[in-house]
């Protein structure tokens, strides 16, 4: 109802790595007996895996006695929680009021065209996830987008695509580098 989630493309879901449930243990220990622990548990899980994997939710339920239905209800209620893995870089395009009147729509459209994904989707190479968010609070720099901790202001479609291209270039370089390193190691 309140948050429309667009299903991930098949390819994005398939490549998910195996979830190491051991990582959850300290989190469970910390929050197990605290009241009001559901949201912090989910937030902690997401911090570990980047999303909330179903097996993690089941383990939390087993260990803490919280009901899966409650957890799922909360996880789908709040915009923060993701139930699918995301790309390495999450592009958050601000669609707050100030950004809206300064044409944030065009930024999203141009990014969608360039990355060939829709809002909420991840690119097949798992490098980018494109998201629309409400106000990032940098209204005087509108329109803005945020990638990781970096905020880019006073954008237009072209500038936004340039930023993405630059990141992509670096990523490809890194990949090549690690590939050659691997080869030389072997």
């Amino acid at each position: 109802m309140r948050v429309t989630r667009i299903n991930q493309k098949e390819s994005a879901v398939k490549t998910e790595a195996k979830v190491d449930l051991k990582l959850l243990e300290p989190l469970i220990k910390k929050y197990k007996s605290k009241k009001g622990n559901l949201i912090p548990l989910l937030q902690g899980t997401q911090n570990l895996f980047g999303y909330i994997p179903p097996e993690a939710m089941m383990m939390l339920s087993r260990e803490t006695g919280l009901k899966i239905s409650d957890m799922y209800g909360v996880a789908t209620f709040y915009a923060q929680f993701r139930l699918n893995p995301v790309g390495k870089h999450i592009i958050k395009v601000c669609h707050g009021t100030a950004c809206h009147v300064q044409n944030a729509k065009v930024v999203t459209e141009d990014l969608q065209n360039f990355l060939e994904v829709k809002d909420g989707e991840t690119t097949p190479d798992n490098i980018f996830t494109l998201e629309t968010v409400a106000c990032l609070g940098c209204c005087s720099l509108a329109p803005v987008m945020m990638i990781g901790d970096e905020t880019y202001g006073k954008l237009n479609g072209k500038k936004a695509v340039e930023v993405i291209k630059e990141i992509k270039r670096k990523e490809t370089l890194n990949q090549k580098k690690s590939l050659t390193e691997n080869i030389s190691k072997n």
Binding site: M1, R2, V3, T4, K35, G36, N37, L38, I39, P40, L42, Q43, D70, G73, V74, F77, Y78, A79, Q80, F81, H95, G96, T97, A98, H100, V101, Q102, V133, A134, C135, L136, G137, C138, C139, S140, L141, A142, V144, D149, T151, Y152, G153
Partner: protein, 592 residues
């Protein structure tokens, strides 16, 4: 001789504009050239349109430099620090000379933002040096009783700055009246209004003022546990709050028998919100702190009677708490000097949109909207025509240009159909389509509706469908009336503030800009030339040189014409992407 200080503004917006790199550069030069100045950090001074900002304070005065990048930083250090000659062209504010931005600060009265941009928010001593924690010390030292504190806040006339405008003193009184041993005090820092960022700025720039306000609040109502419910989207605010809480504990402002007041124990923790606009509503916020879906419930019982974990709970907003220490230190009378009869004190506004000087301004209640926009804000970008200002975010409304003499206080703003809200002020010019703005807000509230009340859940969706249709040229006669009917039903049929106010953006735009709705519906035209599907692109024959650039770029091959001959757009094929318009070098494409 006092050492020269170089202070970099490192709020979220400053960092976004590149202040972090400027700081690194300054640090590098300082070490490389072994220069004698103290490099310091502060937060946002509110002058967002000139970020990144660097202030230099030497024995001759203070100089604030705007739009500083690494290169400019080198130049400023070279000229100002090494050669003692301030770089005039970059100065945006100084106590030694006038600048063209002085009007931005004239007329501002900084109470809630009194320390923002002046202190290092991660250093408790700097807060104390500017009068911080004096209010709680005064209470402890002069043995001011609980009732007296509440009376001070009542007399000051302070009303809730989160949007509701309920008298803070009265809220405290209700919470105090309850004899329960266990009580909670919550700070609502779940600022979710798109277009408002004053709470973030206060938390990042002066977290201790909020803590001190909460400590005083806890003393007044008798709470021993506090929660700051802060948006997870504000990582810097959370980081600085955590630092501040640690420091306050160390210094004994939090803990047991605070400042020797016997039996006054208070401590607090931060609860990260998970992203739901509805959690700004008190009962939804409480549900969220309890780890549940943030859905509002029926009131009464009010939180002052039964709130968090069914105990009496008092909730105030960030800006409200930031005002409290100032009121206690300076007295209720001093505070009530500012403002109008029913709205006392000052209010922080986030001035954004099509405005030249966008940023945070704190003004006394009673100033006119026009003065804020033209005197402080410097007018509209590119000197376009000012059309309307949106106040109060998704719960507010649009106030048209001809009502810009309206003064800002709770009642005057309410009379226009908008609300004060948390203080987002988005300025719109002639290129903003009011139907599209209404649709934008409805899209937001429709997404953010928690789904509990049918009218809010389904009604906003239906309204959004109608508005979308209108902006796409499918509007029908009777749509405006249908929107109004739905709007009043949603207002009446919803439990919480979100639903009750969700239709405001639509109702105010219909009230003041009905002709725009009619133009969309009847003439299938968007007067602001914003709604894509209602635009017509046409080539002006006399101007077209036949360069073929537009023809080559057209994705649907809608443009035809021979080389060096005027081209033509086939309207049946045109998808209104605007590609030809942006590529034409001869201004020969008109849009209407």
């Amino acid at each position: 001789m006092a050492q020269t200080k170089v202070i970099v503004g490192l709020g979220s917006c400053g960092i976004a504009a590149g202040a972090g790199k400027v700081y690194e550069e300054l640090q590098r030069i300082k070490e490389a050239d072994n220069l004698d100045f103290e490099l310091k950090k502060t937060s946002c001074i509110g002058m967002c349109f000139k970020e990144p900002l660097v202030e230099i304070i030497d024995e001759t005065g203070s100089y604030l430099y705007g739009e500083v990048d690494s290169k400019k930083a080198d130049e400023i250090i070279e000229k100002h620090i090494v050669n003692f000659t301030p770089v005039k062209e970059y100065i945006v504010k100084s106590d030694t000379t006038d600048t063209k931005f002085d009007s931005y600060f004239e007329g501002q009265v900084k109470i809630a933002l009194r320390n923002c941009g002046y202190i290092d928010p991660e250093n408790i001593e700097e807060y104390e040096a500017r009068g911080g924690y004096q209010a709680i010390k005064k209470i402890a030292g002069e043995k001011i009783g609980v009732q007296e504190v509440i009376k001070s806040i009542l007399d000051s006339g302070l009303r809730g700055r989160g949007g509701g405008g309920f008298p803070t003193g009265l809220k405290w009184k209700f919470a105090n009246n309850n004899r329960s041993k266990e009580k909670y005090l919550i700070c609502n820092a779940d600022e979710g209004d798109p277009g408002a960022f004053m709470d973030r700025s206060v938390l990042e720039g002066d977290p201790h003022s909020v803590l001190e306000g909460m400590i005083i609040g806890a003393y007044a109502i008798g709470a021993s546990d506090g929660v700051i419910y802060c948006r997870a989207e504000y990582p810097l605010a959370i980081k600085r709050l955590n630092i501040a809480i640690g420091q306050a504990r160390e210094k004994g402002y939090l803990g047991k028998d605070i400042l020797g007041i016997e039996g006054f124990d208070f401590d607090l923790y931060i609860k990260e919100g998970a992203g739901a606009f509805v959690c700004g509503e008190e009962t939804a916020l409480i549900a969220s702190v309890e780890g549940e879906r943030g859905m509002p419930r029926k009131r009464p019982p009010f939180p002052a009677v039964s709130g968090l974990w069914r105990k009496p709970t008092n909730i105030n907003n960030v800006e409200t708490y930031a005002n409290i220490p100032w009121i206690i230190t300076n007295g209720a009378k001093e505070y009530a000097k500012y403002g109008t009869e029913k709205s006392k004190g000052t209010k922080v506004f986030a001035l954004t949109g099509k405005i030249k000087n966008g940023g945070l301004v704190e003004v006394p209640m009673g100033i006119t909207i026009k003065d804020i926009i033209y005197k402080l804000g410097g007018g509209i970008i590119d000197d376009k025509k000012f059309k309307a200002v949106q106040l109060g975010g998704p719960s507010g409304g649009c106030i048209p240009e001809y009502l810009s003499h309206t003064i800002v206080d709770y009642d005057s703003v309410n009379a226009t159909g908008a609300i004060m809200g948390s203080g987002g002020m988005v300025v719109m010019d002639e290129t903003t389509c009011m139907v599209d703005i209404a649709r934008f807000f409805l899209e937001f509230t429709c997404k953010e509706s928690c789904g509990k009340c049918t009218f809010c859940r389904v009604g906003t969706k239906r309204m959004l469908e109608i508005l979308t249709r209108i902006t796409e040229g499918e509007g029908r006669e009777g749509d405006i009336e249908k929107l109004e009917e739905l709007a009043y039903q949603i207002k009446d049929g919803s439990l919480c503030g979100l639903g009750q106010t969700a239709p405001n953006p639509v109702l105010t735009t219909i009230k003041y800009f009905r002709d725009e709705y009619e133009a969309h519906i009847r003439d299938k035209k968007c007067p602001a030339l914003n709604c894509k599907k209602l635009l017509t692109y046409e080539i002006i024959e006399d101007k077209c040189t036949g360069c073929m650039v537009c023809k080559r770029g057209c994705p649907t091959k809608a443009i035809s014409g021979e080389k060096k001959m005027p081209h033509f757009i086939d309207q049946s094929l045109c998808i209104k992407c605007g590609d030809c318009f942006s590529k034409c070098k001869f201004d020969s494409i008109k849009i209407y």
